[in-house]
């Protein structure tokens, strides 16, 4: 159960980051968001 909770939390944060990145006007902030997004994607995929 905890396994799926972990993935659900990571997926939720990834979705919010994705939305923020899409709405953001400044490309430098978009780049900063993407760096966090990479980590979350690897977490959702259970790679790292």
């Amino acid at each position: 159960m905890l396994y799926w909770i972990y993935i659900a939390i990571a997926a939720f944060i990834s979705a919010i980051l994705l939305l923020e990145l899409w709405r953001e006007k400044d490309w430098r902030v978009q780049a900063a968001i993407s760096m966090v997004l990479i980590v979350c994607i690897l977490r959702v995929l259970q790679i790292k």
Partner: protein, 388 residues
């Protein structure tokens, strides 16, 4: 409808993120490919930890167990490497024993990757390399370098406080993923607890008489170049240390604290019939002063920062001016293992007789790779034959 400017930049950045995720993910996944070992011809059978506790079947820690049985009956010895994935010499010493040992009496059981999960990641914030290579006569052979702890992907979340079962001793939460704080383990616990439990079951089921847990530690840790022993194995340990000192190999005796729980040298001895020993060597890559952190530091063990600390005299450290190369650390482990077995044999009438293991000076002169060569050659032959 034309795309807004910020959406174009978002799409480009997302594409770049996908590429970076793919490349990084591929690197991380490489660590899940297990190291391949080539047991000596004396191998009689292979098993897995799940043979002793089926709850480990299908998990990352269902490690391979190798059995060597002599023609004459005798005692049973167990050798553990890789309890902590960032202690390279401990794992490598077990691999060298696995790939070279011959046995004429008794039994030897080798578990070269006690916490296999720890080899699928590295410790966060440490900048550790994922692999290191050892030069052999047949080319470089690569080994994984792992984490001290079970991979958090395999055991999550860490509690705020790690409460040891059954003593109730409390440690930092992350220690719940430390195999050498988990003994005697329990079948309904975490993956690390289950692994500790399986190893205890192995010791009981196979009626192991003498057992070794190989480790390394930072040069500034007080228990270095030492054999830690359970009080019931004191005579064996002191005899072995006497022999090591006579050979010029400094080694300090450390009696296992009776109230520090979860460690192999304490719980193996308290809960089973075995005589347990834990051995430590000095490994600069684990230390806080180490400086540049790369595969060369694992193998050569040369750290200018530790040399400065040594020369300053401000810190008591186990570091030699020429460094702490893996040859010396592995040689120390193998020699201490041999001397303890010899001391055990001298005190009993059911010996474990092991041969074809390198002497201390052999490893220092010829290098570690000399004793791994057959494995590398087999790998090349396998590739030529078209097998994966």
């Amino acid at each position: 409808m034309p795309l807004k400017k910020n959406h174009v930049s978002a799409a480009i950045i997302l594409l770049a993120s996908a590429v970076v995720s793919f490349l990084a993910g591929r690197e991380f996944l490489l660590m899940r490919e297990p190291d391949v070992f080539y047991p000596s011809p004396s191998l009689t059978r292979e098993g897995r930890l799940s043979d002793y506790f089926p709850g480990l079947e299908g998990t990352a820690n269902d490690s391979k167990v190798y059995f060597f049985e002599g023609k004459e009956s005798g005692s049973t010895a167990l050798l553990l490497g890789g309890t902590h994935g960032n202690e390279a010499a401990s794992a490598l010493a077990a691999v060298i024993v696995l790939e070279n040992v011959e046995i004429s009496a008794g039994r030897l059981i080798v578990l070269p990757r006690a916490n296999e999960s720890g080899y699928t990641c590295t410790d966060p914030m440490e900048g550790y390399p994922q692999f290191y290579s050892i030069d052999t006569r047949d080319g470089a052979r690569r080994f994984r370098f792992g984490s001290r702890l079970t991979n958090p992907l395999h055991q999550w979340p860490d509690p705020l406080v790690c409460s040891h079962w059954p003593s109730g001793q409390q440690l930092s939460g992350f220690e719940t993923r430390n195999l050498n704080r988990s003994y005697p383990g329990r079948p309904g616990g975490s993956l690390t607890d289950k692994t500790g439990y399986a190893i205890m079951q192995l010791i009981k089921t196979e009626k192991v008489d003498v057992a070794f847990d190989l480790h390394e530690a930072a040069p500034e840790i007080p228990i270095i170049n030492a054999i830690v022993y359970h009080e019931k194995a004191e005579e064996i340990a002191l005899n072995a240390i006497f022999e090591l000192e006579m050979e010029g190999i400094n080694c300090s005796p450390e009696r296992s604290p009776e109230n520090f729980h979860g460690l192999s040298h304490r719980e193996w001895g308290d809960y089973t019939q075995v005589n347990p020993f834990l051995m430590e060597t000095s490994n600069p890559i684990q230390g806080r002063l180490r400086g540049r952190t790369n595969a060369e530091l694992i193998v050569k063990g040369v750290s200018p920062e530790y040399l400065m600390a040594l020369e300053s005299g401000a810190l008591k450290i186990a570091y030699l001016p020429a460094g702490e190369p893996i040859e010396r650390r592995v040689a120390r482990h193998i020699t201490a293992f041999r001397r303890v077995i010899e001391a055990y044999n001298s005190l009993g009438d059911r010996p474990v007789i092991l041969t074809n293991l390198p002497e201390y000076s052999d490893v220092l002169e010829k290098g570690v790779g000399e004793y791994l060569a057959r494995g590398a050659r087999k790998t090349d032959e396998t590739k030529k034959a078209g097998h994966s």
